[in-house]
């Protein structure tokens, strides 16, 4: 009897080995995923129902008070929130430009010329540098006093004169455009800066994709008389679908989580006009004038909900593709 039981037990183990093994391998990842991702999301959802300035009192008790959906009601009438939403949408759409532009550059770079590797790495370069550095460089680029935009403008519209006390100064017929301080243009200026590394990312994705385009299909297409746009549209692009999918996914997520550049280039200014949800959340909760952790969590929750729409779609697409592939 005794041996029988142990025998059946071990055989249960051995019979289900293949089903159990993946879960054992997943345990460490799941454990950390829960601690660092799932639990904070739940805490943030919970915190969004409280008014809290982030402080614990002398006895270690949180000073928060439960206010239900009040934070969300405030959000609804908060113009800063709507400006952030509007800017997030702008980011989403304009950031998408990096996909076709990246494709164009990738096709252009996909040739065998002497030194092409150098050109490829130069195009890839902006993706390697930190977003913070990109923001800093573009901040200087746009600077109305010493930036390159200003220098070009000054060449056309300004002249150097001597001011009242005899120092050199610049007088302009038309003032130099101050892109990052203009409520109308600042967001476009930051998105343009953000496109630089994002295009590079898409270039890399498409370059690897182009490596895998089947030469025989191109050949066959050529025999059938396809060339130029038709070749691109009917023969090359369908084979690049996996690359396009990844490029769109990372671009959408990149657009929604845009934070670094805004923090570096404008801090959401002028007067909050370049805020996006992620930066607004930082501003109300964590920044020097923050102290509204509950409200910040409500902003984070909204951003999370928006992201979930896209992420669920991408996951669903991937699942569908895999099923079809199987």
């Amino acid at each position: 009897m005794q041996t029988d039981i142990s025998h059946t037990q071990s055989s249960w183990m051995s019979r289900h080995k293949l089903e159990i093994a993946p879960f054992i391998f997943l345990i460490p990842a799941l454990f950390f995923f829960f601690i660092y991702v799932v639990i904070p999301i739940l805490q943030s959802l919970q915190l969004s129902l409280y008014a809290w300035n982030g402080l614990y009192d002398g006895n270690g008790q949180s000073t928060s008070t439960f206010i239900g959906l009040e934070n969300y009601r405030t959000l609804w009438v908060d113009p800063n929130f709507w400006i952030s939403i509007k800017n997030n949408i702008l980011w989403l759409f304009l950031y998408m430009l990096s996909v076709p532009v990246g494709l164009m550059i990738a096709i252009f770079l996909n040739q065998t010329v002497t030194g092409i590797r150098i050109y490829k790495s130069l195009f890839f370069f902006p993706f390697v540098i930190s977003q913070v550095v990109v923001g800093l460089i573009f901040g200087w680029f746009y600077n109305p006093d010493f930036g390159i935009v200003a220098k070009v403008w000054q060449f056309f519209f300004c002249e150097e004169t001597i001011n009242f006390i005899g120092n050199k100064t610049v007088k302009c017929a038309r003032p130099v455009p101050d892109i990052l301080s203009s409520a109308d243009y600042a967001t476009y200026g930051i998105i343009f800066a953000g496109l630089w590394p994002q295009v590079a990312y898409c270039v890399i994705l498409y370059l690897t994709g182009l490596n895998n385009v089947a030469a025989d299909q191109i050949e066959a297409g050529r025999l059938d008389g396809a060339k130029g746009w038709k070749m691109l549209w009917y023969v090359v692009l369908p084979q690049l679908r996996p690359a396009t999918f990844i490029a769109v996914a990372v671009t959408v997520i990149g657009a929604l989580r845009s934070f670094d550049m805004i923090a570096i280039m404008t801090q959401g200014g002028p007067y909050g006009m370049t805020n996006v949800l992620s930066h607004y959340m930082y501003e109300v909760a964590i920044s020097e004038y923050g102290e509204r952790y509950g409200y910040g969590s409500a902003v984070a929750t909204v951003l999370f909900a928006i992201m979930m729409v896209f992420i669920s779609y991408f996951l669903w697409r991937m699942y569908q593709d895999e099923r079809r592939g199987a």
Partner: protein, 411 residues
């Protein structure tokens, strides 16, 4: 981030060290200025304190100022030091309300600070108690290019009308009257505060930052009307929204702009930009409403005792020590600021002397818009000021928006 972390570790290590040792005389002080002069002045004061109290063993944690601002939110409840530096006014409000600071009214009474520091007492008080001891403060006012003024035969304006006509003269020779850099917003709040203090006075400033007056109130509208006149007839440099305050100094140093509404710390930057004492000078922001008592902006830095401090006895000794006139004189002449103790002597720098004359005759000392108003209000308010400076025609929308925020924040 690493700074914050280091500080947390430092604080933690210091507190555990204290727990391990048997001496009652261990004192942990957290300070927040790593700039060479302030750091040295602080260390000298601590050394003097140790010399005067050989039985007290002082441990110092000096960290970066910005890191301190976020670290204090954690260490006050998690690992409180015995003394920490922080700011008065509404900046200490959340900590006082959460019961994280120790009231020290007895210390003020025992050391005669109620008289010696009478001018700053209101800003150190909240909920009817006094919470800290200021070790330093500095004046705000108008810094101007004396060489340009002299060349044009202008004199320091005493009234609004004189200021405006000085502006006309400056503009006439192609000098922009005022420089500023509003990228980080608070500089605009300095201009607003002065216009409001001169238009309506100290009480209205306090009522506004306490949320008792609406932004659409006629008195505040009058302030903005004066501001619009200033924008129109005086004007500020172009592109100020892209510049920090140091960027504003550049135009001033080059002689493209003639005046700067600023705190006394700007003098250092002006000297670094190559200006000499003969080229720069200071005047009190001129009178707008005739006969109105003149209040000044004079933000203070202070020391507080966390309510969780382990050695409150010696912490009080240290606070009493830094409140002494001789210590404050030495400390503040080293860092180029003013001692809050009225018995202390002021450094012989001309800006300190002039500043001291201005603040000691002031009808009241305002901390600054972003220290007097709660954080959420200050943040929106300063955005509104910047927006107004860039486009005065949006005034109505801005004021209504600020009213809305005010209703949210102070409820």
């Amino acid at each position: 981030m690493t700074n914050t972390l280091k500080m947390k570790i430092g604080t933690f290590a210091a507190t555990t060290m204290f727990a391990a040792s048997a001496f009652a005389g261990d004192l942990v002080i957290t300070f927040d200025d790593l700039n060479p002069d302030p750091k040295q002045a602080f260390e000298e004061a601590v050394a003097a304190f140790e010399a005067a109290n050989p039985d007290i063993n002082v441990t110092v944690n000096n960290g970066d100022r910005e890191a301190h601002k976020s670290a204090i939110r954690n260490f006050l409840s998690a690992n409180p030091p015995d003394v920490t530096s922080w700011y008065p006014g509404n900046r200490m409000g959340p900590f006082v309300d959460a019961g994280l600071f120790e009231p020290i009214d007895d210390l003020w009474a025992e050391n005669n600070l109620n008289e010696d520091m009478a001018a700053v007492k209101p800003t150190m008080s909240r909920n009817g108690k006094t919470w800290g001891v200021p070790y330093s403060y500095y004046q705000w006012g108008v810094y101007y290019r004396k060489d340009i003024y002299d060349k044009l035969g202008l004199s320091e304006p005493k009234t609004w009308g004189e200021l405006l006509s000085n502006c006309d003269a400056l503009k006439g020779v192609g000098v922009t009257p005022f420089t500023i850099g509003t990228k980080y917003l608070w500089t605009a709040a300095g201009v607003f505060d002065y216009l409001n203090l001169r238009t309506n006075g100290y009480d209205v400033h306090n009522a506004l930052t306490d949320g008792k007056i609406k932004y659409t109130d006629d008195r505040i509208r009058a302030t903005f009307a004066n501001w619009e006149e200033m924008l129109d007839r005086c004007s500020f440099i172009d592109n100020h929204a892209s510049m920090d305050w140091q960027g504003g100094v550049a135009a001033f140093a080059n002689g493209d702009a003639g005046m700067y509404v600023m705190g006394n710390f700007a003098v250092g930057a002006m000297r670094d930009a190559g200006l000499t004492n003969d080229q720069i000078d200071f005047f009190q922001f001129p009178e707008i409403t005739p006969g109105l008592p003149m209040a000044e902006e004079a933000p203070a830095d202070a020391f507080f005792i966390p309510s969780g401090a382990k050695n409150k006895e010696d912490a009080k000794k240290f606070l009493a020590f830094v409140a002494q006139a001789d210590i404050q004189s030495k400390w503040n002449s080293a860092i180029g600021q003013l001692p809050p103790n009225s018995k202390a002597t002021v450094g012989d720098d001309k800006f300190l002397q002039e500043g001291f004359a201005v603040v000691s005759s002031a009808a009241g000392l305002a901390q600054f818009y972003d220290r007097d108003a709660p954080a959420a209000m200050a943040s929106e308010g300063m955005k509104g000021f910047q927006e107004f400076m860039l486009d005065p025609s949006k005034l109505d929308a801005i004021l209504e928006r600020l009213d809305q925020v005010q209703a949210e924040v102070y409820k």
